[in-house]
Amino acid sequence: MIRLLVPMAVTLLLLGCQPMALQPLSALNSRIEQAGGSREPALSGRWLALIAGRGGRERVELLDLDRALPVPVPGLNRVDAQPLSVSVDAAGERLALVRQLGGRTELLLYRRSLASLQRLDLQPDGVPRRVQLRADGRQLAVEVSREGLWQIDLFELP
């Protein structure tokens, strides 16, 4: 009985708590709409990284929210790759990315000032699915499928 009552009580609590009005950021939302469909948002500082595209061709985009403009990310996107997850640090300097390329799922770290893309290896081997960079860009959490289990790997980044 207690097993039933506890989830019910929490549900009632959540349904009953005071709803707060969310204020859409209309100008920024219009800018995001221009890119077509979009998914996998990652906010940090003045930056929003997301995966956007039309007709099944998707790419990673980085928006400067203060200027409501996309910023260039040379060398990050490839037409033959499918991005799956992205995250950005608060400086807009580092982006972590999971993508599929040639039948393989890759974990990558991009440094915007260098336009460099570095592959990160999982040990032991696994299939990365999602990434989350800490706001200072010095730690990366990766959701990994490994031997039938979902696990979280943490990377310290120099």
């Binding site: 506890v6 929490v10 950021l25 906010l43 929003l48 706001a135």
Partner: protein
């Protein structure tokens, strides 16, 4: 939903979200004061934010409908990005939380001026 502090992985208490399932897409503010997530209640999905300092939970209904799938909370808690499924299409929308949440800034940042140097 579990919350760990790093390094060490010690479990930190969650007053509202620890028992609620299914839930997805946890997103933390700078100091871990706020934890945003998508919570499923029956057929409904809700965006909620637990304020660990106050021990409260905020329900954030989305204007315009659409089912929330993922959220990303800005580290200072000032903005929220939501991935919505609406009419078979996925899109991201941004919302301001500045009137709803107090900022959770990184440690050591002066918020208010005034007074002489120590």
């Amino acid at each position: 939903m579990l919350l760990q502090s790093q390094p060490g992985g010690a479990l930190q208490p969650l007053r509202h979200l620890s028992r609620q399932t299914p839930h997805s897409s946890p997103s933390l503010s700078w100091n871990g004061r706020y934890l945003a997530a998508v919570v499923s209640i029956g057929e409904r999905r809700l965006v909620v934010v637990e304020d660990r300092l106050r021990g409260s939970v905020l329900r954030l209904p989305l204007p315009g409908g659409g089912q929330p799938e993922r959220v990303s909370l800005a580290p200072d808690g000032g903005r929220l990005a939501v991935q919505l499924q609406q009419q078979g299409r996925r899109r991201v929308q941004l919302f301001s939380l500045s009137a709803v949440l107090e900022p959770d800034r990184p440690g050591g940042l002066r918020v208010l001026g005034g007074g002489s140097e120590p």
